[in-house]
């Protein structure tokens, strides 16, 4: 009978908390959105599944060895940990707090104490440490994105870089939004949190995760989920803003065909970009360095095997680990918070402002160029989200004028947006990191 009782007390049903049930439902919702609605399925399937696994009661998949020991070890274990951490109280909360605040040496002592008693890191925790905490996964994805990017349209019309710059205003406007919410006493964000939330407006998953992992690891789950959900919603968020800000005549503007770009120019571009980063903003070097490296592999033409791996096999492998690791951050105590609602709200505002600024900038450039050469619809593509945002520009262009193919023209601002948000990320890391 005792054995049966033990089994019951170790079961998920006995131990589950309402928060965990709710988070598992959120994981299921993400899976539904990915599978039925086709919302960024490559990321939301691993994220949703990781979220469900992270919330399995008692399994502790998303917890470190010490957290597992605190949770499962009983009074004796807590006492040992308290001694290792040099605190007198052996209450679980006090130990947890001391563990998170400990310096490296004490931290390590606590980890050894937990390991000695047979507690180990959860699987998802290990994935997170290797993939995200180290910064490796977002950077490898950026390399793959670089290897998939064709800078031809941008090189043919370098002025479109200004559109990519203008659309980054969404990022910084959102920082102000987050800071205002805090000043008004509605939410509680630090300047680091605000910066990490703003980067959602960059509409660039790996950049958002990279910045969040450095500036606000606690908010990483919510930020990543918001970033990828809104990227999937680009075809719904952008068109109303684009229509509201442009006239029918402007949407009909047909653009001249882009000039031919030589191979040498395409090879030189990533090198020029890298030199500029090295000279001006070393903090953006990890992101843009990997991006340029991936692009050089693509364009130089002598390492096709490496380029192929970077843009197919490797990016797929990394995506699996990245998704599961992000999912591991969907734990009830971190996600079920007013802050998450704030992040979701601010994220969509960031997207909207970015889109609007891109379109307005394109209108200004069109006026300056004589009024009939730049279709303002391509401005919205300045919020990265490659290639979805460019497709939206193309679609709206076709609606206004069935002979108007804007796709290649919109790819210029689109890839400029990737560079722009990486630069913005570098500035944020430099100023508040």
């Amino acid at each position: 009978m005792d054995k049966l009782l033990d089994l019951w007390q170790a079961s998920g049903i006995y131990n589950v908390t309402p928060g965990q049930v709710f988070m598992i439902l959120i994981g299921l919702l993400l899976l539904f959105l990915a599978i039925r609605k086709n919302f960024e399925p490559l990321l939301l399937v691993p994220i949703g599944f990781g979220g469900i696994m992270a919330n399995i009661p008692e399994a502790g998949l998303a917890m470190s060895a010490v957290e597992n020991a605190i949770h499962l070890g009983g009074p004796e274990m807590l006492h040992t940990l308290a001694t290792a951490l040099n605190i007198s109280s052996a209450e679980p909360e006090a130990v947890t707090h001391a563990y998170h605040a400990a310096d490296a040496a004490t931290h390590t002592a606590a980890v050894y104490a937990a390991n000695d008693h047979g507690f180990n890191n959860g699987m998802l925790y290990n994935f997170y440490t290797v993939a995200i905490a180290s910064g490796a996964a977002p950077l490898l994805i950026f390399m793959g994105v670089g290897a998939m990017t064709d800078f031809g349209p941008l090189l043919a019309n370098p002025k479109t870089l200004f559109l990519g710059a203008a659309a980054q205003f969404g990022i910084f406007a959102t920082v102000i939004g987050a800071v205002s919410l805090t000043t008004l006493g509605i939410m509680d964000f630090t300047i680091q949190d605000a910066a990490a939330i703003g980067i959602i407006g960059g509409a660039d998953g790996p950049t958002a995760i990279y910045v969040a992992s450095l500036l606000a690891p606690d908010l990483l789950g919510a930020i990543a989920v918001a970033a990828y959900s809104y990227m999937a919603l680009v075809p719904m968020i952008q068109p109303p803003i684009m229509r509201a800000l442009t006239t029918e005549a402007e949407r009909k503007i047909a653009m001249v065909q882009l000039r031919h770009i030589s191979k040498a120019e395409k090879i030189m571009f990533p090198i020029v970009l890298l030199i500029l980063v090295a000279l001006l903003l070393p903090d953006a070097a990890p992101l843009l360095g990997m991006f340029c490296f991936g692009n050089l592999m693509r364009e130089c033409g002598v390492v096709d095997r490496l380029s192929d791996t970077a843009q197919n096999a490797l990016i797929n492998i990394v995506t699996i680990f990245l998704g599961l690791s992000v999912g591991s951050k969907l734990s009830a105590d971190k996600f079920l918070d007013l802050q998450t609602l704030g992040i979701l709200l601010l994220g969509v505002i960031a997207f909207g402002i970015g889109t609007a600024c891109g379109v307005l900038m394109a209108k200004v450039m069109n006026k300056m160029a004589g009024g009939n050469s730049i279709n303002p619809l391509i401005g919205s593509a300045g919020v990265s989200a490659v290639p979805m945002a460019a497709r939206v520009s193309n679609k709206l262009g076709l609606e206004a004028n069935s002979q108007n193919f804007l796709l290649m023209h919109a790819m210029g601002p689109n890839v400029a947006g990737v560079i722009g948000s990486a630069v913005a990320a570098g500035v944020m890391i430099k100023f508040v990191g």
Binding site: F162, Q168, F172, I191, S262, V272, L276, G420
Partner: protein, 80 residues
């Protein structure tokens, strides 16, 4: 609190300013690079199929000429 707001504002001004400065420089650097490339390493414009036989033909006529000259030279040499 005010401190946080001013931090946010300065982040916006500097951040946005820097993004624009960086991308403006990139526009110039790219334009300059494109000019250099088109000047010093102009891509041999689309030349599939057609120019190749022409080059080959030129080469072969060159050879014929050379052979003729050499034969003449050898003849001259043997006459003496």
């Amino acid at each position: 609190m005010d401190n946080l707001m001013s931090e946010g504002l300065s982040l916006m001004v500097f951040g946005m300013g820097f993004v624009f400065v960086f991308l403006t420089l990139l526009v110039f650097a790219t334009g300059f690079m494109s000019k250099l490339v088109t000047k010093f390493a102009p891509e041999a414009k689309p030349q599939p199929a057609k120019p190749k036989p022409a080059v080959a033909a030129a080469a072969s006529t060159g050879n014929d000429e050379l052979v003729a000259v050499m034969t003449a030279a050898v003849h001259q040499f043997r006459k003496h």
